[in-house]
Subunit: 240 residues, 2 copies
């Protein structure tokens, strides 16, 4: 795994431009990544295609759910991710572009990420939905602050909207309760996932020529994103 935090700088960029997400307000001030936000099309293509990926993964988890309760619960989570995807698609259309053209450049890398994170069974697949959706919603939400014009607020509103996080956590908790031996395996899987997820997130940043200055911006944000990831794993009783 790449060491994101090689830089020693701890200067925080305290410039939250969007209202804090109701789901993750435990950590005092939010830092954002506005200075590293890529161009609008680039951002929207990646964010929309990632939401579509999350939806696909959840759809698969719905289809293969071992219990009716899990199926019903996950279909709700799927619909919330799909709503985010559709919101971003509408934002793309608002700028006069065709969603599939804008998403196309992002497809290959994200398809690779998706296939590397499928997991070996349903439990790992659901953990993937939980970990990647949590991390990436959060990441793209922070990155949205740097979008031009009204896009920042609209996209922030879409990505800060209701998520299926609690629903998925309950499904996983129930599975772990039924079969406590899952814990070790899912904790391990979560650790691998967060590494891959951070790589995908990082690749969405528009880095400048000034490596040190970029790192100074990235570091505090990833520190918070990882803290949020740790809380999500805690919620399952798993070590991050």
């Amino acid at each position: 795994m790449v060491n994101w935090f090689a830089s020693r700088r701890r200067k925080r960029v305290d410039a939250p431009r969007l209202r804090p997400r109701s789901t993750s307000t435990t950590n005092s001030t939010k830092v954002d990544l506005a200075e590293l936000t890529p161009g609008l099309g680039d951002y929207l293509g990646k964010a929309a295609y990632l939401q579509l990926m999350i939806f696909e993964n959840l759809g698969r988890a719905v289809a293969t759910a071992p219990t009716m309760r899990a199926k019903t619960a996950l279909s709700q989570a799927a619909s919330l991710s799909l709503a985010k995807h559709q919101g971003l698609v509408r934002e793309i259309e608002r700028h006069g572009d065709h969603p599939s053209d804008v998403m196309e450049p992002a497809a290959r890398a994200i398809d690779r990420f998706q296939s590397a994170t499928q997991g070996s069974d349903w439990f790992e697949a659901v953990t993937t939905c939980y970990v990647t959706a949590g991390f990436l919603d959060d990441f793209f939400y922070r990155l949205a602050g740097g979008l031009p014009g009204g896009s920042a607020e609209r996209v922030g509103h879409i990505l800060g909207g209701p998520s299926g996080e609690k629903i998925i956590a309950e499904v996983l908790l129930a599975a772990i309760e039924t079969n406590p031996r899952l814990s070790a395996r899912l904790a391990l899987w979560g650790r691998r996932l967060v590494g891959d997820t951070m790589l995908v997130a990082r690749s969405a940043l528009a880095l400048s020529a000034n490596h040190d200055s970029d790192e100074a911006r990235i570091e505090p944000v990833f520190t918070e994103l990882i803290a949020a990831h740790t809380r999500r794993m805690d919620a399952l009783g798993l070590t991050a």
Copy 2:
């Protein structure tokens, strides 16, 4: 295939209790199946689980779509089916029941139907979404007229709401245009599908001891449902 129309009776039951669906008003008077509507729980469990099945199938078609345009289009259709599922889930909850308990009795037969109609590739799978969603939305819409109290109108509203039919038709048309040899195979597949779909639909009816009287009610409705199916296949340039 079962011969649905063995009975010679042609007496129509002209009692449409719900507003006609905007998508299928070509055929003069709509007949409904109100007298054969099963109990509310039975109806809602089957209808909700079938919408979930349609959503799962569309979700799979999204995940395996060969082009980004198809992926984007089908994700819209998936969201419309999911909205119907969720509307029916809310109707179940409104009556104080847990959706998964109400859907459970329907699961086995519908899971079997789903696995028998997966198709051998993406094109057949998308045709399955098109044919089964079209037929079953229509069928359960007509059956809704016999539900008690406000459920008839609410459920009719849910099932008569926007559908992904046109979106899926465009995806299939584009595929057939690109590869005209698909036509024969998909026409054949459509014929097999409609037989299986009619069996699932028929099994949702609350039949009385009076076989002749039931058939007299069923026949005109299935005649219309098959006419609508034929129009759907026509829209793809395929023979039903």
